[in-house]
Symmetry: C2
Subunit: 210 residues, 2 copies
DNA sequence: TATATATTGTTGCAAAAGCAACATATTTTT
DNA sequence: AAAAATATGTTGCTTTTGCAACAATATATA
């Protein structure tokens, strides 16, 4: 989701030592393999060392919804947040997953340990980033019209990409999912926004005219 | 937001010691006072010891939106999540706020400290709870129709209240805000749901018939 | 390079939801 | 207890959105 790693600022040797202390395992999964079922009930902590994974829900009618797309450096575990017990983590590509008991992360041995401090700091920041991301999405979903959702989303994107010439980082189809609106209705609205001179766009390339 | 406290499982004496080590301050605010402006830029960590506070946004047009209602035991700080810089924390009642530098929380003195371990565990859990809450809201907002939003919300509520005879914990007016739909349209939909035999409701008292 | 698959773009029509403007009931304040 | 302020309940009308069914591009795969 974000681009910093949970081991940033800790040298490789210290990372090894920590993982050793934690009795960490590195597991390899093939694409579409189930990494974890019943997400809310695990006592383990997971780090994506390499590859991609998704948190998904299988609905009663058999459809699946991707709750969250995760990348290298992302973390998951029971804190990933849901009261439902029908959430799974599925490998979206071949991937390597580091896992250890969550308790190991929290409890400390007697001696001060810079690496451990830094790791907890990073974990807190990772989770905080997730919170920011969720918050942003809520802000967008809370807007009433499709146009207002788009404008809010474009606004955030413009702030992140530090330009008014923004590029949607996924397909327009995915964008309509993200905004939870009908794709064709969204396309229509984008057209109207062009007509009204609010934006000037071609596919995923959008110039904000305000 | 949730009912456990960030000092749960730590005895009063150890709490005092910790707060002392952290150079923590306890501040008192009157209702409607500004506790913190520019939420995303603070390096401090805040705990609501007593009272209520809201995270609010003041929109360009002067309207204010309550992003989050917080109670005794809740925490806030830059991790509270937003990329915007127009967020404030406002006292919703008289309240006492404990504050200290976030760094103090993360860094450790040499000696092993059970209380400190527990505190970090609690903080992680608090943030994780927030994540759960946000996640739930996103799930609801993602539903397309008002009926589906209501059904999903009722479902979560029923799970929490462990009964099909649920009670909406705030006004119907606030509910429409939470679901981000028009109040009158929501009322109409609730009526239709009664007509269809899906629910049987009177005001905030709702019986799920499914 | 041809073929298959995914993505983007468009439209008519029907359904859902928003808005505005009320009436009525309930709760809070004086 | 009266008055004021909130909250709930209702309706006609209009706008927005979703749905379905396409055509046209672009991208990936054999």
């Amino acid at each position: 989701m974000n681009d910093f790693m949970v081991f940033d600022g800790i040298n490789d040797n210290d990372v090894k030592k920590l993982l050793n202390e934690f009795n960490a395992l590195t597991l390899h999964f093939k694409k579409d393999a189930t990494i974890l079922s019943n997400v809310s009930n695990t006592s383990s902590f997971f780090i994506i060392q390499e590859g991609k994974a998704n948190i998904v829900r299988y609905n009663f009618n058999g459809t699946k919804t991707i709750i969250e797309k995760m990348d290298k450096g992302d973390i998951f575990g029971s804190f990933s947040g849901t009261i439902d017990d029908d959430l799974y983590v599925i490998a979206a590509s071949e991937c390597d997953i580091i896992t250890f008991e969550y308790n190991k992360l929290i409890s400390r041995s007697g001696k001060n340990n810079e690496a451990h401090n830094k790791l907890i700091d990073n974990v807190l920041n990772k989770i905080a980033d997730k919170l920011t991301y969720y918050n942003e999405r809520i802000e967008i979903l809370t807007e009433k019209t499709i146009r207002d959702k788009l404008l809010k989303y474009f606004g955030y994107l413009s702030k992140k990409q530090i330009t008014k010439a923004i590029v949607i980082p996924f397909t327009l189809s995915d964008l309509s999912d993200y905004l939870a609106v009908d794709r064709s209705a969204m396309m229509r609205e984008i057209k109207y926004m062009n007509d009204d001179g609010l934006i000037q766009s071609k596919g995923r390339y959008i110039n904000l005219k305000y």
